[in-house]
């Protein structure tokens, strides 16, 4: 798998230069990559039970993270859809974006996304899964915001990456918790270990948040319809078969260990049901072709989530069938929408009419896909729905609510299908505005929809042949059993069929009566459509307000207040443990060993300090500072450091001279702070002084490591031929340090010179 992902990424890299070189036909070569992958996957499916293949390469061996890939039934289903539809979309882009200078870039994003998506569904390492998951978010951001010159596209792209990014963060948290809890990050090991206690509620919540944001489940459904700002091929690809299905993949993958918790069932059932109903109802309010499809996609995702709430072979089979059916009909419809837009330059369903003139193939594809959407017998979606009815029919008390949801959603889908089909066959538009102009339709624009529509038909007629292997593969992966599942194209006259047909009939009636006033009023009364969007805006505004507020409080710009915080933190965090440590020390408090000259030097320093702090005049303060320096220099001399002492004397003298020279230009010394403020500072600084004193005492009381200085003592004369060890250390053993020091000195000198000598030009100075 790694090789295929690498090939897809390489394809993404070469697509820009290739499309510049072959602006018309470059897409043919680029489409080879997904085609090859699709063929490889079909081959893997044919040999399936043996087809579970894995591949592991070390990545960060020290952290036990590896590039582990595994292709089991579930991965296979998703990867087939990703590569197959990806191939068709790649052909479609060629015609859709022809003449666009940024075609190559679009291809690059497309393949980048495809590679990431394949990575998500085949990764066998939790962290690898997370990495690819984030890559899909990033690449979909690029695809949705492709027309970045439009503000709406930028907003939609940002919204999608913020919402899915939130889920990504949750996924990271969940993945880390799960991996640490199970002791391994290998997904297959976690699943086979089947540790049913592995999914604690926090882990479950993190995974659900990730899946729900990615798959646009209520209440995160709002980003998907907005993402219709993307160019149509991207919408078709992202929202029919790939990006939004990643969340479903995650749920399906971890169902074996997650579904034991009642939280799993209730959250999936409720979120799925809400999303399915909400999406289906809101879809009917839409007039723009793509937005209608987007809301019906939200609804279908809800149904699929609902299907994952219970681990059962029939539920898994229904999930797989519905997933494939949805990918086929929704992919076809999105591509049809793009083709219509490309040929007529009109996206409002109410203004479209007479589309049968475009191309018989396009009309046929649209009809097949819409029939599948409506659930007409003979098409794949019908077969999938039979499964759903069949499964929920055995679910006991859940039968009534689940069946009701299914019927309502199916009826609304029928209305949606008729709304979509009407412009193809009606001669006159509902809302005739500007007369439509028909442009010729490139064959590559209808090939994709025709293939997908026909696939829906073939799979629906021959489910045993075509769908059976896929469904069994998925069941074996999701339930870890090999229980065979039987599929029938025509189930015979039974309750499920009656329910299906009743739903279709209700849908047709609703469509016919759609102009009926109470129905229209009810449709218009639903203001929930923008609810999610408004909540998102509010949350974003709130976030900015919090950021502004906290920045204003934390970054106030007063140096001394920053210092105060640091001081306080040091006193508390260092001082408290230090006090505890020092109180255990046996301190020798005798002053007998103190010599008179030492005591005098220390006193000199203390007096200097007091003078510096207290002095009312700046000259006295500077001289006091000099006294401090001379006192310290004397101390150095007394304790065996003549080099230090000499340097200190020189530097101190220089400092005093410089300060006195410079202070001629500085103002008088005065007290600026109030007494209370000064008292507060005195208290805090005294506390810190005590902490530092304690630190020195503690440092003297024990030794952690043997001193390395003996090395310098022994080798100074031997290796460096110098007898002043301090000097040898500076110019030889630690010469690089000294070089740094010299550089600092030179830089500071240059800086000071520049500050004092360089004047702004006259013009700027007078400004």
């Amino acid at each position: 798998m790694l090789y295929f992902i690498a090939i897809l990424f390489v394809t993404a890299l070469i697509s820009v230069p290739l499309c510049r070189w072959l602006p018309k036909n470059g897409g043919w070569f680029l489409a080879l990559a997904p085609a090859a992958l699709f063929v490889y996957l079909c081959d893997a499916l044919a040999s399936f039970p043996q087809g579970v293949s894995g591949q592991t390469l070390p990545w960060f061996p020290g952290l036990h993270i590896s590039l582990a890939f595994r292709l089991d039934g579930l991965s296979l289903l998703f990867a087939l859809l990703i590569s197959g539809i990806g191939f068709l979309v790649a052909l479609y882009i060629m015609a859709y974006m022809s003449g666009n200078a940024r075609q190559g870039l679009f291809y690059a994003y497309h393949f980048f996304f495809m590679g990431s998506m394949i990575g998500v569904v085949t990764a066998d390492d939790l962290l690898l899964l997370f990495v690819f998951w984030e890559l899909t978010s990033v690449s979909s951001f690029l695809l949705i915001g492709f027309h970045h010159e439009r503000a709406e596209a930028r907003r939609a792209a940002l919204q999608s990456i913020l919402v899915t990014g939130l889920g990504g963060l949750a996924l990271l948290a969940g993945v880390l918790m799960l991996g640490l809890r199970c002791g391994t990050f290998r997904i297959s090991e976690i699943l086979l270990g089947a540790n049913h206690q592995a999914f604690t509620v926090p882990i479950l919540a993190a995974f659900l948040l990730a899946a729900f944001t990615k798959s646009a489940q209520f209440p995160f459904h709002f980003w998907l319809p907005n993402a219709m700002e993307a160019p149509t091929p991207a919408s078709a690809y992202l929202h029919s078969s790939t990006m939004v299905k990643a969340g479903l993949y995650l749920l399906a993958r971890f169902q074996p260990i997650g579904a034991d918790s009642p939280v799993w069932f209730w959250s999936l059932f409720l979120a799925g049901a809400c999303t399915a109903l909400l999406g289906a109802v809101l879809a009917l309010r839409q007039t723009v072709f793509k937005r209608l499809l987007a809301f019906s996609t939200v609804s279908a995702l809800g149904l699929l989530t609902l299907q994952l709430s219970v681990p059962h072979p029939l539920a898994a089979a229904a999930f797989a069938a519905l997933l494939v059916a949805h990918a086929f009909y929704k992919g076809a419809l999105f591509l049809v929408a793009g083709a219509v837009d490309h040929a007529v330059h009109e996206t409002d369903l109410r203004r479209l009419a007479g589309l049968y003139r475009l191309s018989p193939f396009l009309v046929g594809a649209a009809a097949l896909a819409a029939a599948s959407l409506a659930g007409i017998p003979g098409l794949l979606n019908f077969t999938a729905k039979e499964f759903l009815y069949d499964f929920w029919g055995r679910a006991g008390s859940l039968f009534v609510p689940a069946t009701l949801i299914l019927m309502i959603v199916s009826a609304l889908y029928t209305v949606a299908a008729l709304l979509i089909l009407r412009p193809f066959f009606a001669a006159r538009a509902e809302d005739a505005g500007v007369p439509l102009t028909f442009h010729s339709l490139d064959a590559r624009l209808w090939v994709g929809p025709v293939v997908l529509g026909a696939a829906g038909l073939l799979f629906g007629i021959f489910p045993q042949r075509l769908l059976q292997p896929l469904v069994s593969a998925v069941c074996s992966a999701m339930l870890l059993t090999d229980e065979p599942v039987h599929l029938e194209a025509w189930p015979g006259w039974n309750l499920q069929l009656a329910l299906s047909l009743a739903a279709v009939a209700v849908g047709v009636l609703l469509f016919v009566w759609r102009a009926w006033r109470p129905l229209r009023k009810a449709r218009l009364a639903l203001a929930v459509e923008t609810f999610g969007d408004r909540a998102y805006d509010g949350a974003l505004r709130g976030l900015f307000r919090v950021a502004h507020g906290s920045t204003r409080i934390l970054q106030h710009g007063y140096l001394r207040l920053y210092l105060l915080v640091i001081l306080l933190a040091t006193v508390v965090l260092v001082g408290v443990p230090l006090t505890a440590a020092v109180s255990h020390l046996h301190l020798e408090l005798s002053l007998k060993s103190v010599r008179i000259e030492e005591a005098f030097s220390a006193l000199l320093v203390v007096l200097g300090i007091m003078g510096t702090v207290h002095s009312p005049s700046r000259l006295a303060a500077i001289i006091s500072l000099g006294v401090v320096g001379y006192g310290i220099a004397t101390l150095f001399l007394l304790f065996g450091a003549p080099d230090l002492s000499m340097t200190q004397f020189v530097v101190e003298t220089l400092t005093v001279v410089l300060l006195v020279l410079a202070f001629r230009h500085l103002p008088e010394y005065d007290l600026k702070s109030r007494l209370a403020v000064r008292m507060r500072d005195v208290l805090l600084c005294s506390a810190l002084g005590c902490v530092m004193a304690a630190l020195v005492i503690l440092a003297n009381s024990f030794q952690l490591h043997p001193k390395i200085s003996s090395y310098f003592m022994q080798n100074s004369a031997l290796l460096a031929h110098g007898r002043n060890v301090v000097n040898v250390i500076i110019v030889d053993f630690r010469a690089l340090d000294t070089l740094g020091e010299i550089t600092v000195l030179a830089t500071a000198g240059l800086g000071a010179w520049a500050l004092l000598k360089l004047r702004p030009r006259k013009k700027e100075a007078t400004r």
Binding site: H548, R552, G557, R560, E588, L589, V594, E598, A602, V605, I609, M610, T612, V613, I622, V628, I632, F636, F639, G640, A641, D643, L644, T647, Q648, V651, L658, A662, F663, H665, L666, P667, Y669, K672, V682, S686, G689, V691, M692, A693, A694, V696, I697, A699, N700, K707, I708, S710, M713, S716, R723, V725, V726, L745, A748, G749, G751, A752, L755, L756
Partner: protein
């Protein structure tokens, strides 16, 4: 003696920080100087005080660590003295320029906000 020097270090830190908390530019500068003295003396004292020889090897024979002061802290402090001098000089130039430009040595009056809200 260690105890006395420890207290001196504490005093240097306290005084240096107190001065750095003032609003006057000059006092901040003097505080900076006191603080670097404190840091130097901290390293010196923490490295162990000894009244024996300086780490100067005799022209013949060797000198062990037990017989002399520790050379390593001294080398570090030597570097630190020079660097703090450089910092002081630069700060002095900077503060003088600030005073010239802002006509005030009160940091609260000099303060500007990057972002005008």
């Amino acid at each position: 003696m260690t105890l006395i020097l420890a207290l001196v270090v504490g005093g240097l830190y306290a005084a240096g920080l107190y001065m750095m908390l003032r609003r006057s530019l000059i006092k901040i500068l003097l505080g900076l100087a006191l603080l670097s003295h404190g840091a130097n003396l901290l390293i010196f004292t923490a490295g162990g005080l000894t009244r024996t020889h300086a780490p100067l090897l005799p022209s013949e024979g060797a000198l062990t660590l037990a017989q002399s002061a520790d050379p390593l802290p001294q080398a570090l402090i030597l570097t630190a003295i020079v660097i703090s001098f450089a910092v002081l000089v630069f700060a002095l130039a900077l503060f003088r320029k600030t005073y010239e430009t802002a006509q005030s040595d009160d940091v609260d009056l000099v303060k500007t906000e990057d972002e005008e809200s």
